[in-house]
Symmetry: C2
Subunit: 220 residues, 2 copies
């Protein structure tokens, strides 16, 4: 059998298939806590419940593209940190039919979300434990929180949650929230010393000593 014959004989419609979706959990730090973007569902199932932005995967887009599309539809944002999280395949996770969901997590500084409509932020810790959220999305949120907490220690994902310019107190605050613990100023600064570049600018207007403004250092 040649490959052409095979291709002709093989018709993918011969087999029943699960549907494939992508769900994206976008996180940001606001009001001193990690928050996650959720939308209220307009359709069955779980009508009226909160859910992660999600789309069915189109035949001509990659999974990464689908995840970016899901977030763009709700936020209007492009070019945000986006990474695959886990793929969920329980048989009954969607009452309509068999749906396999490839989940992603995204990080964005709060400032970039101002004026957004079509979705809102909710405390991630609470949502990870909530029982009234659509599908298995609270588990996805919990999974994203864990991944972030782990990855903060050995990667630079925290920088995705601040703007291009930032102060060290600001950056440390992000780390503290992601890790869920206070850090020592001096030690924190030693650790990230080679990841940052000082500018000659300072904050102003505060009722105390101004902070130096830094940028990210990306040597490689």
């Amino acid at each position: 059998m040649t490959e052409e014959e095979f291709l002709q004989r093989y018709r993918s419609s011969d087999y029943e298939k699960p549907s494939v979706t992508v769900d994206a959990a976008l996180f940001t730090v606001r009001d001193g806590m990690l928050q996650v973007l959720l939308t209220k569902r307009n359709e069955h199932p779980f009508q009226g419940r909160l859910a992660l932005p999600g789309v069915f995967v189109g035949m001509h887009e990659t999974l990464d593209e689908a995840a970016a599309r899901a977030l763009h539809d709700k936020t209007g944002l492009h070019d945000i940190f986006l990474e695959q999280l886990y793929t969920w395949g329980s048989i009954d996770r969607d009452p309509r039919m068999r749906v396999i969901s490839v989940s992603y997590y995204a990080l964005v500084p709060e400032m970039r979300l101002s004026g957004m409509t079509g979705a809102a932020l909710f405390p991630a810790e609470e949502m990870a434990a909530a029982h009234d959220i659509a599908f298995d999305h609270s588990r996805i949120i919990a999974c994203g929180r864990e991944r972030i907490r782990n990855k903060v220690n050995y990667s630079d994902i925290a920088f995705s949650l601040v703007g291009q310019e930032f102060t060290l107190p600001e950056l440390q605050h992000i780390y503290e929230i992601l890790l869920g613990q206070k850090l020592y100023k001096a030690n924190f600064r030693k650790k990230i010393a080679d990841k940052i570049l000082p500018t000659d600018q300072f904050t102003s207007g505060s009722q105390h000593r101004p902070s130096r403004i830094y940028r990210r250092n990306t040597p490689p």
Copy 2:
């Protein structure tokens, strides 16, 4: 619209869907190196090429179950360490049609693979860089290798590659191969001290001092 009306109206066949497969990379340590289980494909595409064990995901099995099935079909093994790796969704990864593959990696001590037919072991490093392997499976192997190397440092996956009873030189050897570097005996023993339980048995037959035999300690 009630939920029932909706379910009736919604017919999943209305939409074209990608196919979903699971591919499982089973690793073991043999001959002093990490090796991966591959099978020779009998059908198009990539007929005659080496590939990871894989199956289409059935409508009534979870992803984990599908991965276990793929490995069981080729090895006859049950109850092996198995964890999801990454989901691959490039549009052209399969020439027949759009296929999304959820990849898994598995770890098993070499002894459990003796007498296996239907698949064979190959050096993982070489296979991760090979260009003559079916689909994108060499990338999956590379991804699995990386995951293992990282995870050895903060988890106990190395124990999945030795039997229930093991000596410390044996266990250290596994660590050294997974990490790709020599370790210091004394430091290694300090580090894993609380993960192991000494037995009162020793190896014998060697031309030197016997090693004490240990078991894994799982206190929690």
